[in-house]
Amino acid sequence: MEQTKYLVVGSSHAALEAVTAIRMHDTEGSLTLLTRDTHLPYSPTVLPYVVSGRSPADSIFLRDEEFFEANRVAYKRGSALKALHAERNTAELADGSEIAYEKILLATGAAPAIPPIPGLDQVTYHVLRTLDDATKLNAAIKQSKHAVVLGAGLVGMHAAENLVKAGASVTIVEMAKQLTDGYFDATAAQMIEKAFTDNGATILTGSRVVKLAPSAIGALLTLENGTTLEADLLLVATGVKPNMDYLEGQGEGVEHERGILVSDTMQTNVANVWAAGDCAQAKGFYTEDKVMNAILPDATEQGRIAGMAMAGDPGVKAYPGGVPLNTYHFFGRHAISVGSSRVPEGGEVVTRFDEVSGRYLKAIFKDDRLLGIYGVNEFFDGGVMCQLILRRVDLSAVKERFLADPLTVGRELMSRIWR
């Protein structure tokens, strides 16, 4: 049986950071990277830009074969993990072969969550999680005249914008009351919505599709209120769910809820098994409860911690907890969100909105400590803001200046604080 000291499953941000972290401390131990994808490593986050054609599909790769060679990583693509046999430290692959590991990292990411809508399985629809999805969608967009996007998360919104720009009539159907729910607040969402409607898109929030059927051009959708839509392109972007089907049927195995439950060093309840990235459910920064924080920056952070812990690097520091971080570019405008949108008891929300410039800022404080900050067309250094949150910096002395100019004041605080 093939043996390896470190087995990393997955090939995106968390997995790649883990590889780097392992090799920082252990340059010799055998390392195998396993991925179901057949392409070189890439980021799901870049896929909307492949869809739009902005990023050629062959220029988005985060690593090349030379990287794996130089780091002495056995890189196996097109090899999906079928089952984890943690009790005997082996991983079973789709082809039935097994690999024995000393330590394994599950960085298997997430896959589109397909809603249980009757008839969905009868129609052709797109999802967007893999490069192959993106390439297909890119080709389809060019042909589409009537497109429907299910879900107004960032993936759906990106695709919708691309479809609008490609000349299709676009309808976005979202169950929630607002667009980009969970990323941006209602005010920001309204600004986003306005940008879309100004560009000809139709937004149907608070709506759900109850039935789907094939039609001449593609699919016929029936909404909750009885109206119907016909689409020659249907994109299902209603969220993602972690890839952890390989844990099924393992009995008393790796604990998982919405994701794989991990400690502050990304270790699961089972010896020699770690998890990181979109498939992991780790401590949140604002709560001791374990949360899903499936965002790119957190995947890198978790991947690094897992790699260091696996390699026994004494420099490993405990995961501080996930802080939501999102950026969104739409129709030439940008929105940034850092931290929590929830206003705790005794918390304070400050908003500033300039209708003329379209600049919007919202900040949430508790005891003069920043909990979250959101901006549309208001640029601030998200990384600096995140540090203000993580370090729980007391802003009482500068709060007004900070709200007026978070960019400059944030930088001043940075220079004084993190030396």
């Binding site: 941000h13 988005i60 920056p297 950026t327 570019h329 030439g332 940075m414 220079s415």
Partner: protein, 446 residues
Amino acid sequence: MGKSYNTIAFDSAKCDGCGDCMTACATTKTGTDDKTRSRIQIVGSEADGFELALCRQCGDPKCVTVCPAGALTKNFDSGVIDWSDTKCVDCLLCTVGCAYAGIALDAGTGHVAKCDTCEGAPACVPACPHDALTYITTSRIYNEVGDWEDLFAPGLAGCQGCNTELLMRHTLRRVGPETVLATPPGCVPGMGSVGFNGTTGTKIPVFHPLLTNTAAMLAGVKRQYKRVGRDVTALAIAGDGGASDVGFQSLSGAAERNEQILFMVVDNEGYMNTGMQRSSCTPYGAWTSTTPIGQGTGGMPSQGKTQDAKNLPLIMVNHRCEYVATASTAYMEDLYDKLDKAIAASKRGFAYLHVYSPCTTGWRFPTDQNMEVARKAVETNFVMLWEYNPTDGLHFTHSADEPLPVTEYLKAMGRFRHLSPDQISHIQGKVVENLAFVKQMAHREN
């Protein structure tokens, strides 16, 4: 393993917030004078001091790891984090990754922008009218020297915070294995250069001359190798006492005979290894264990050394050596440049390198302050950095204009704590006089 890169350094104490650096950057990079578009951002105020937001060109850059498009890459040749406009998708995730505001949105282009050091010639640095920005190019030393063999044993027994070990290791690495090393009594053998009880501290031939005869013994070694046609570098790493006091005769004799040796003096301004006694290189007013502070007799309190230091490097210039230079470990690039020249000169004749070496134990300053004390010595002109050779004469290698007041140096350490205003003004006067003297010499020699 490991590579060092040049970097832009910022001294907030020198910055007055004029913004000339931002203008220079904006002009160079955007063709406008819009400071908000500068990639170097000065923030802060006169009251609270000015600070800098600029790409640190991190070795382990978070912006690169969070970029989904592979648009940011650490360039391991230049050390710069390169940004690709063709790969970038304007998602701004990099700005969320960076904790230093080193990459930010340029409203003028809609893309992120970051410092690229103008390909190694940053426009902001010369634009600063106060030298608050400097482009540190010492990486060359680390990168070159890092691959050379360290010829000293690991774990030399220096005092904590001493810079002499650094000097020893760097010098030996540069000089290389075809060397005979003399380390007369003092801190250098005290740290273990010649070993103890039959062991050795170096991988090259090393000896312990007398305090008095270093230059003479070394001359004998060198002459014999020259006679038999072997190119061996003869190097001394000596203290100031063994050079300026009891060893001066042999030093002067060897210099006069133009013996082909490289004589490095590590000047810690006293007999620090034997317990911090005064030497002729001890400066006026300094406490040492033989110029202590006390009540004195007849109303004449004892207030440290009552004479000025002997200026040994200038005396060596008057030997018309092949090469004479002063150096400081706070200016390693300058030191390395001089070391290169001194080695070359020692193949033709006598080369003399005088390195000022703050002594954390004997000068009484915190162990983490060695480089700062060394730097302050130069910034106040208490120590001047210059070099001399018979063809080009004497010239400064570090500007002696606009020095800080000498008190900036004196207050950095305990050995001057007792100074009276009169003593301080004597020292300041001596600094001015020394500068005038060396300047005159530089003028005459040129």
